[in-house]
Amino acid sequence: MSARTGVATLCYVYAVARDTPELDAIARRLGAVGPAASPLRAVRAEGWAAFVSDVPADRFGEEGLRAQLDDLGRLEQLARAHHEVVAALFGTLTVLPMRLASVYADDAGVRGMLALSARTFEPLLQRLDGRREFGVKVYAEPRPASRTPAAGGPAASGREYLRMRRAQREGERRSYGEAEAMAERVLERAGQFAVACVRHRPQAGVLSSAAGENVANLAFLVPAAQEDAFRAALDALGSVRPGVRVEVTGPWAPYSFATTAAAQEETHAS
């Protein structure tokens, strides 16, 4: 229950950080945030702090949350609101970003979570200190089959049409194979400058508006001192082959490396 408005509220958690005195000033500076535009504040327990804001219980209770997550428009609003807070915090200090829609009943619930997980925070945060996440996506871009006589034009006959289709499929297969080879090179070269890598599912569907077929969707955790070398390595790879495109996103707060599963799966560069 919010003391200010008397409306029933829940506690939305954005990120966890080491407890330091300046957290309150950082929270105040960010002001009203999140899906309900309520003040960001720090809830503390056992040397750790969670950045939270109050959200209305009707929209963030189990039913409300389910409805929000099932509606792409509302999901986008929530995701962007969450990201805005995490990105702003991450620009200031090392934080452990929470998964979307981490909602607790009240401050006591958040303190309980901090106390329960306290031992896991330090190794996770240590791994994120001084590092940022970059996304690298590799796409296959099938080219028109240029060796077909009537490429681009109408087929003169049924046989000609079939030949063109076959050449096109072959081009697609080749391009896909080259893109997969490129993904391996990206893992090898970019991996030299990253301390960890996570594979996300290749992107597809209406939200994936990029041209071509996404063959690899990778995330790398890169130390600040290695960022230039990491980018240079990718730039060098990205310009090599036609039919393959490499796209870099970020820097991101280290969402992909904030899970204990990611910590176990990480591949260390030598």
Binding site: L72, L100, A101, A105, V198, W252, S256
Partner: protein, 64 residues
């Protein structure tokens, strides 16, 4: 491939929703305690959403 200026704050640019959802629904710390909606439920929602997104897209086979 356009390198971003090194000091660009992540929040200053509009990121692609699909890149954001990859991270916010698969990444991020999942902690125990008195959560309103369990993580397994969120995963289920995610899988449903993925199915919806994919079924509306071009008919490529699912990679998983």
């Amino acid at each position: 491939m356009l390198p971003e200026p090194r000091d660009a704050a992540p929040a200053q640019r509009q990121v692609a929703l699909i890149d954001l959802l990859d991270r916010l629904l698969n990444g991020g710390a999942v902690l125990t305690g008195d959560v309103v909606l369990s993580v397994a439920d969120v995963d289920l929602v995610h899988i449903n959403l993925r199915a919806v997104i994919r079924s509306l897209g071009p008919g490529a086979p699912a990679p998983w």
